[in-house]
Amino acid sequence: MSARVASGAVALAVLIGLPAVLSSYQLSLLTKMLIFGIFAMSLDLLLGYAGLPSLGHAAYFGVAAYTVGLLALKVANNFWIDFPAGLLMAAGVSALFGLFALRTRGSYFLMITLALGQVLWGIAFGWRSLTGGDDGLPSVPRPRLPLPWSLTEGIPFYYFVLLCFALALGLLALIVRSPFGRALVGIRESERRMEVLGYDVWRYKYVAFILAGLFAGLAGNLFVYFNGFVSPSYLNILFSASALLMVILGGAGTLVGPAIGAAVIVGLENFISAYMERWVLVLGVIYVLVTLFAPSGLVGLVRQRLGSART
């Protein structure tokens, strides 16, 4: 445990120090990695702990992004209204979708979360007068906070995102280590046993579903400020599936693993897109390779390696 705290402190120190050595372009890439790290960790709560494979997680990310974007553009660019509103909408939509999705399990759960996510995509795509349809909402401003630094600058915005990331990681770590989190793992392992023990399984899953939506909303909030732009692609199945890939690639049920998985995918996308047009093809191959050769993720591989080194 102390080793874990120490490595966490080192990682945090590195993340705090990195802006000093990175170019502004590299810093913006790192910012994006952190945002997607939050997104992947939010899905990990659902997939890695509660054992619920959602294929519609982009819904909450996108709803938050649209909420912030619409409020900032059409009502007021007020952080203290827009930011909480984004979180609230993400939690609200996940509370609604959870009612449908949690009536099912397994493949049905996958299909239904996917289909529900597509409902929102359909609305964002079709309701042009509100959402701008295919064109999305351009030039969403970054918030003005009562700070000596402006978030429109790369470095202060990076620290803002890093703070959110650290808070999200800390809160999620507390959640999964709490009796609530332990119960989720119990439900993942055997729902029936938990029922017999007197747990209200549905309620645990429902709360986990809403929490996962809330943290996905946090990532969506940050991403719209990051990009200054919202489009229906934020709600797309590609986004939902890549969140799943990040979680599995990093290692489901480890929180930090999915954040690393997110960094790897965002980094690879950036690197490969710079050299060739066929990123989607490469991404497809990554899905196949991860499923075949790294089902327990990078964290799992490292643990295996350490385990075999010890024996």
């Binding site: 009536r103 199945i237 989607v280 497809g284 899905y287 499923t291």
Partner: protein, 284 residues
Amino acid sequence: MTFWITQALNGISFGMLLFLLAAGLSLIYGLMRMLNLAHGSYYILGGYVGLAAIHVTGSFVLAALAATATVTVVGIVMERFFLRRFPEQELPQALLTFGFLLIFADLSLWLWGGTPQTLPKPEIFERSIRIGTIVFPTYRLFVIGIGLVVGLGLWWLQEGTRLGAKIRAGVDDAEMARGTGVNVGLLSTAVFAFGAFLAGLGGIIGGPFVGVYPGADFEILEMALVVVIIGGLGSLKGAFVGGLLVGLLDNFGKALFPELALFTVFAPMAVILAVRPTGLFGAR
């Protein structure tokens, strides 16, 4: 009145196309508990290969044979060498098949470009027929005919033949079926191949009126998923009824409320889900 009849016929013909896709998806899930997200890829592969074959041979029938044969082989390879490793594990199946979906999408874009294309219709179905004020293309009627023939054929196969009995036994209880001497492994490959064949057929049949274009794979997959969610996974009847329902909802939705096009399909799905989580005809 003309509007309603024309739109209804359009909806039914699109519904029949969806039935071809959903039937395969549903059968594969029913027998193997396997969710194939690459099913939409089989549609565009069928369409694109068919298009290429028409350019070479000039014959719709030969193109249909080439397209369905290609897609069937792709299906067999996917089942034998990849999906078979993950029986009853929905998450690896989903990731794997989503990977294939991306691979086929990008390969198609690479090979055939990003311009939406439509297949030429077979010559005998180029015309429209006129009954009173209603003018309706014969090709749409041909699609409805194909859907009915496939539906009846599948129903007969499932209810009236020994093979169908084996498949039903496998769907009900794979282990027991194995115990009574049914080669479930071979049966699985055969059903998967047949599902892929139907989706490839969908590509060539849908090519002249829906067309093939980048993104059609995702759209068709989503529609087919809605069909099986509404109808119930594993149920042929569900795929048929669900296909008709979704085809009609989609057509009238687009015609009457263009801003809410997808919503008219997804909202009824949510209602049905709320009442019957396993769909209209789904077991369990």
